[in-house]
Chain length 69, copies 12
Amino acid sequence: MTDHIYKKIELTGSSTVGMQEAIENAISRASKTIHDMRWFEVVETRGQLDNGKIAHWQVTIKVGFSLTE
Amino acid sequence: MTDHIYKKIELTGSSTVGMQEAIENAISRASKTIHDMRWFEVVETRGQLDNGKIAHWQVTIKVGFSLTE
Amino acid sequence: MTDHIYKKIELTGSSTVGMQEAIENAISRASKTIHDMRWFEVVETRGQLDNGKIAHWQVTIKVGFSLTE
Amino acid sequence: MTDHIYKKIELTGSSTVGMQEAIENAISRASKTIHDMRWFEVVETRGQLDNGKIAHWQVTIKVGFSLTE
Amino acid sequence: MTDHIYKKIELTGSSTVGMQEAIENAISRASKTIHDMRWFEVVETRGQLDNGKIAHWQVTIKVGFSLTE
Amino acid sequence: MTDHIYKKIELTGSSTVGMQEAIENAISRASKTIHDMRWFEVVETRGQLDNGKIAHWQVTIKVGFSLTE
Amino acid sequence: MTDHIYKKIELTGSSTVGMQEAIENAISRASKTIHDMRWFEVVETRGQLDNGKIAHWQVTIKVGFSLTE
Amino acid sequence: MTDHIYKKIELTGSSTVGMQEAIENAISRASKTIHDMRWFEVVETRGQLDNGKIAHWQVTIKVGFSLTE
Amino acid sequence: MTDHIYKKIELTGSSTVGMQEAIENAISRASKTIHDMRWFEVVETRGQLDNGKIAHWQVTIKVGFSLTE
Amino acid sequence: MTDHIYKKIELTGSSTVGMQEAIENAISRASKTIHDMRWFEVVETRGQLDNGKIAHWQVTIKVGFSLTE
Amino acid sequence: MTDHIYKKIELTGSSTVGMQEAIENAISRASKTIHDMRWFEVVETRGQLDNGKIAHWQVTIKVGFSLTE
Amino acid sequence: MTDHIYKKIELTGSSTVGMQEAIENAISRASKTIHDMRWFEVVETRGQLDNGKIAHWQVTIKVGFSLTE
């Protein structure tokens, strides 16, 4: 069995709906160019406020994916 | 263009429904007395347990708002 | 009034639905063997990715419960 | 039952006697203007030295109190 | 000489008197069921406030003890 | 000699010139309403980028000031 | 597919040989009573010195294992 | 309105002049290949010493930029 | 002399042999596509367990390399 | 007025009595060889356990003192 | 080629002018007694306030220098 | 029994062979001038890269030693 190597990149997803969709948006966007994504880790959760309400949820994640040999 | 100054305060919102509503409750309460809120950052997520279930979600956030000149 | 002593254990719950259910699953499982659980604290939020989508949400929490005298 | 909202402020108490009195001094001073204080968390413990002895203990705490509706 | 293995558990002790007694209470309670405790580390110091005074000191510690072969 | 109590607040100053002026702007604004400011601590240094250049430096500080008896 | 729940415990292994053997000793000891261990994370690496040499390597790890339904 | 996704990369800029120029050098270099940079965060400030003087300031930053759809 | 700019990327190497080989595997893989690598920093050490033994060591590192002008 | 330079050293004091005396013991010992000590900061609080009781409190502090010109 | 050993000490420099000069003052003072200084790392940036203005910038750094064989 | 006082210093050892030897080199060098060293703690593990390979492992440790009365 080979020893795998992974790369981790940091993404910030945003959503008007909620923190979970912000994460899903970031992963969905990443899947367009990155194959073999394996895991993510939440780094930070923030949001922008407008008129006393949450306008955008912003969640920063790290995504790990396998590097092909 | 002027250089803005912001103040950040720390709030803990609670909710019986979930972590997102706990955040929204804190911001909704803050909007009664603070104008020009710009962003929030999640600091800590906890909850109280009762009879083996989550009785209250408690999320601590920092809220940044613009100080008027 | 007596001085209570609490023990904190660390659990990782998982869910295909979302981060909140992952927490609830961990607490539900813990309630089978632990009585008098009082609070939890979220330590880490991660997830496993499969085919460019979130296969499992994984949330690590600490659970505090009262030790009987 | 209503969902409570709390605000947390950061105070540094000092005392010539010890770290516990420094905390009590900060809380005693806060109680003059803040009602419904619920909990505190120790953030940092320091002190000033003079002639090779501790002149002042300085303990920084966060104090959480309930915001009235 | 053998290579020892230790386990660390996390406890929160409380006391109406002070932070040192809160630690001692947690260790005293642990000694009822755990033998060969070797060291502790303070993780967090908090307290509950009631009527502008400290009702309970709450100190969270990790306790390390030797696992018998 | 009396035991002083200090309060710490968190401010974010901004400047088009640099990080030092961002700090000075925050302190200058705070001095309009707060007396007896004693020290500050830098918490975070960020900035906004526009057209490949730094449009605004943003420095978050904590400011400690003495509470009068 | 079921949603798995994991528990994490904290162990300190020691070895006169090196840091890797200290980790392996802790895991070997844990395997006597815990089944279905899945992963570990290194928390801290220390050692005891005697006569200017390393007498014992001490590595603290967290071990995650699956809780049976 | 669309939900934006950002990527964050980590750069270390250096300068013989000072920490601010080290940051500006890193951003200037990044602007050659990255469009739509939005913000930066200072992660670490270091420097190399030679003959008792600062030979190079080295500042590590994270730069966030918008990913095009 | 020019002011160098460095980029840091995050990699996770794995090995069945040990933590040092996991780091070397990650660097060896990175050297296939990155030139002028200068330093690395260990971020996290973990491993996967199977049948009570370490199946894979997994070490996450940051690798800094020089960006050509 | 001159610009002062301070050096900070790290000490661990111990005491059979309590954490405050452990700090005082460390400072008392340091005062034998260091003049012009100005402040201390608590870094870590631990202790050694023997027969289910605290045998030694061990508190690690940083001590700052003024360097003479 | 020999394997070098470095020692790191912690210094706090102050300046009425700015944070960069505070660092330079600390390094300049250290160069009087320490030879072969190689690098520094900024640990903390603070300052003292007087009459609503910055009276002293105070920057704490770690300085690494080579130990001669 | 007397209450011991310990001092902790920070050292960076290097080695072309590996991280364990880097630690041993730092301790070996320290033992030339320091007596009664008791423990060490690993603070940071890094290394320098040359031609796509690890040229030097660099491990920073804190070493605690007993101060004689």
